[in-house]
């Protein structure tokens, strides 16, 4: 066990996987010698050479297409998109190609060895072009897995699992936690199974569900609720696609209530999908309507970032309203 921040944990995961898998390459804008604008790939070019860790020209479309090509021909490709806000030029390659390589070829070809890593989310005074949470654009695409860690330990285990997974994975990294989240991380390589949610706090009155950087907020809200005598069960979904319906449904059957929190706008966000499914699975157990605490239906604002955020206070209010319903 060693204490480290999320960037160091990601760097360790990449390094140990490159060590173990000679076919693995890491690439993207500025990821080579410089180690990426956030320094997640620091030292990899020195360790593994320029053929395996390199800068690409500035084209997300090109990066994604190139990654598809590598992975379709047997390589392990880990591509960085510098900010999740800039993944959109690559959307055709990801949504139409990465996601459908296996399906459209009748499994003649696949890009299972492909992982996109990309920093997402706000809270860094970045305005609407450095703060978006675009996960729902990808959860609606069959063929992609979508994974989001909440702390350094999770980042390492989930990233290694994503790289080894036989499907294309989009791994969203909560950038506001890159340096802020520090914790113990297991040594050596280990995986955290994809597609499994984690119950991080047991409770009896309401289930709070989220992912990534919002987990910290849910835990704060649960603490506030505890002072009012409300017992919250807190679940980190970890993998959004495919998501762990069973764990969430089991929890909601126990607590009778569900609150989902995400930073992306409410309308069309992934919380809507979860709410509909859980309503089907748990209709007779629900004691109040499923609640969503999400970003507003505006672009991510610069000045009113704090007001926009689905923060702990808003979550706390929603918890009370749900319990009182």
């Amino acid at each position: 066990m060693a204490e480290m921040n999320m960037l160091q944990a990601i760097n360790e995961a990449l390094s140990s996987e490159m060590e173990a898998d000679q076919k693995m390459m890491v690439f993207g804008e500025d990821v080579g010698h410089f180690g990426g604008v956030f320094r997640a790939t620091s030292g990899l070019q020195e360790k593994f050479g320029r053929d395996r860790c390199f800068n690409t020209p500035l084209t997300e479309q090109g990066i994604a297409g190139f990654a598809n090509g590598l992975a379709s021909n047997g390589m392990t490709a880990v591509a960085e998109i510098q900010f999740a806000d800039y993944i959109f030029p690559a959307i055709d390659q990801i949504v139409n190609e990465s996601a459908k390589f296996r399906y459209r070829s009748g499994n003649e070809f696949d890009v299972g060895g492909l992982t996109f890593r990309t920093p997402y989310g706000g809270g860094i005074a970045g305005g609407h072009y450095h703060s978006q949470s675009p996960e729902a654009y990808f959860t609606q695409t069959p063929g992609l897995k979508v994974v989001i860690p909440r702390n350094p330990e999770q980042a390492k285990g989930l990233l290694i699992a994503s790289i080894r997974d036989k499907n294309p994975v989009i791994f969203f990294e909560p950038k506001r936690l890159y340096r802020a989240s520090v914790g113990e991380v297991r040594d050596g390589d280990f995986v955290i199974e994809l597609g499994k949610a984690e119950v991080i706090r047991q409770g009896t009155d309401i289930t709070l569900l989220g992912w990534g950087a919002q987990m910290e907020i849910l835990e704060n809200a649960a603490d506030m609720a505890a002072k009012k005598g409300i017992s919250c069960e807190v679940i980190d979904l970890r993998t959004l696609s495919p998501w762990d319906v069973d764990t969430v449904a089991a929890s909601v059957k126990k607590t009778g209530r569900l609150l989902i929190n995400h930073e992306a706008p409410l309308t069309g966000g992934f919380a809507g999908e979860i709410a509909a499914t859980i309503q089907e699975e748990c209709f007779l157990y629900l004691e109040s309507p499923i609640t969503r605490v999400c970003g507003l239906d505006t672009p991510y604002p610069l000045i009113h970032e704090k007001e926009y955020m689905p923060d702990a206070l808003k979550t706390f209010e929603a918890i009370k309203a749900s319990v009182k319903f």
């Binding site: 804008e29 500025d30 080579g32 010698h33 410089f34 180690g35 604008v37 390199f54 800068n55 020209p57 500035l58 084209t59 997300e60 479309q61 090109g62 806000d85 800039y86 959109f88 030029p89 005074a125 970045g126 305005g127 609407h128 072009y129 450095h130 409410l266 309308t267 507003l296 239906d297 505006t298 672009p299 604002p301 610069l302 000045i303 009113h304 704090k306 007001e307 926009y308 923060d311 206070l313 808003k314 209010e317």
Partner: protein, 392 residues
Amino acid sequence: MSNATTNAETVHRVSFLDKNSIAIPILKVLQADGTAYEGAVLPVIDEALAKKVHDTCVFTRVLDERMLGAQRQGRISFYMTCTGEEASIIGSTAALDDGDVILAQYREHAALRYRGFTTEQFMNQMFSNEKDLGKGRQMPIHYGSQALNYQTISSPLATQIPQATGVAYSLKMQKKRNIAICYFGEGAASEGDFHAGLNMAAVLSSPVIFFCRNNGYAISTPTEEQFAGNGIASRGPGYGMHTIRVDGNDMLAVLAATQQARAYALDNNAPVLIEAMTYRLGAHSSSDDPSGYRSKDEEAKWQQHDPVKRFKLWMINKGWLNEKQDADLYVKYREEVLAELKVAEKIPLPHLDDLIQDVYDKPTPILEKQLAELKTHIKKYPEAYPKSAGRI
């Protein structure tokens, strides 16, 4: 069959075009000492134009120095300088008509200044206050002004390139004697939008100048890792486009090339590509530290090619400027920038109601509802939302 194939010479053994076969000369007018090269053809420039260009150079230098300082003091959150690239930006804008539409990348605030953006307007944008034309929505340096025909900057790179093609086409359809100019870096020229934009401009006959600032780096990535082949200019002929490469640190070369490019674009309803060879003397942005990827020696070498100094020497040689006037201008702008900065940082931030404006032409019912709920919440916890709680 296209002209290219009907008129082509034929050969009967394999013969590749050499990858280095495109040789591109570089236009230079001014020498380091501020005198013109022998035989150099000067742009159209009189004393008034030269003074406006020089004035914009000095203002830009001062703004960049002061605002980078303000960022380091934590007064603004982010900044980007154009230090070293003033000739590329100002020399090209100075060749335009005020009705020509500018679509910039983000490092071209000098062009906006040349058009008349006031110091106060710059400050209001950087402090995201309620007087900012962009209503405080974007990070510092994302300026824009309808009145000055300068479209608002967008962070996603290269998106402005095909847009410029469309703007230019609309100018043509509106029968305006105007063009569009589109600025971008050599890094942005790797994006798909660059290729789409140039191809469409050539095929659809859009009067647009594509102006590439080739400043050597895209954040940490040097040009050798950005493109193989002969820079960005070599792509122009490939798309069927008039093309020129200029010394981007030479104000007169940039001005001359852009004046002629503009005339050509207007007279022929055709795009032109200009590649200005320059150097990003500063960091990429206030979040970047270039010592991680390039040497002090390299930077020092480029300091010798300071475009502002070279142009100043030319003006002094012409008798249009003296050292004292130049020094006084720096003093004047330092005072002005500092004074406006102090005013702007005290102007209130945009009101909470603004949060749901301009998402659509008018707020939708769901946005109205979300704002109302938000206000109720903030009223309950005013201390948690200090920026807006006092003014709901």
